[in-house]
Amino acid sequence: MDLTVAHQFDDAEQQQEASTLGMWIFLATEILFFGGMFLGYTVYRAMYPHEFAAASSHLDVVLGTVNTAVLLCSSLTMALGVYSAQLGSRRMLALCLGLTMLLGAVFLGIKFYEYYQKYEEGLIPGSGFTWAGANPNQTSLFFVFYFIMTGMHALHMIIGLGLMTVLVLLTRRGRFTPSYYTPVELGGLYWHFVDIVWVFLFPLLYLIDRSS
């Protein structure tokens, strides 16, 4: 009896097929989850284009670009991790997972530094919000969405780091072989998804109107 096949499944192939399909369906739910925020953002950006453009230029485009690059690199290391698992190379897998986590942590560090910057500039929406330009209320809507969307994204990154930790622990215990590495594959899918969300967040939040 293959201990890696759960009892409700007939064989490893069915289990892998089901697990992968399940993870993709979960990611589809996440598309809708983030999608609601994107809709709200779109509506308000269409209503207040000037305020949103002005607000966007207060975001640090250098840090944003660096962060995007960091996440793209982490996706590379994650993909290489899956490759290592396919080859059965434990050390490489642990290394790739570790690098992915490191890059994720760098991303979060930069993000929280940006949040701190916003706090210093008085751009956190709520009673402490200070805006020297026109229409502070509508401008604050941009920052509301900025914080909610990047905050939700950061929360997903933190969960991702948790998943990676579990994967690293399982790797060190020798749980994965070339014929069973589904959790690594699924963890990779989740990680890449979180990267894709950022790929859309970055231009929408940071690059509204940089040409003026």
């Binding site: 892998q16 097929e17 992968t20 399909l21 993709w24 369906i25 990611l27 589809a28 739910t29 598309i31 809708l32 999608g35 609601g36 994107f38 809709l39 779109t42 509506v43 269409a46 485009v61 670009t65 995007t68 690059a69 793209l72 690199c73 996706s75 590379l76 994650m78 993909a79 290489l80 899956v82 490759y83 396919q86 080859l87 589904t182 594959e185 990779g188 899918l189 890449h192 998804f193 990267d195 894709i196 790929v199 859309f200 970055f202 231009p203 929408l204 690059l207 509204i208 109107d209 940089r210 040409s211 003026s212």
Partner: protein, 102 residues
Amino acid sequence: MSETVIQPRTYLSIWGVLLALLAVTVGVAYVHLAWLNPVVALSIAVIKAVIIMLYFMHLRNSPRLVWVFVGAGFAWLGIMFVLSLGDYLARQYLPKPTMWLP
């Protein structure tokens, strides 16, 4: 799961393309293209997302059923956007109410 193992060389090429597209996105943002700016930015984002899905997420080698659910996720997002924004866009054609009597 891909029985086909994608080689690191492919992953590295994709990574290179992604970073190049990032550079383009940022660069183009500083060029004044009016309404084209968000179009270009989003188009590049879509291309990046598609590449990540096809190669990093192994969508290229995944069963058709997975494609269906990925498509469904985006299609439903599209439904939500199109019908909601349709309401907002169509409002400009409404006459502003003045009073009850004609």
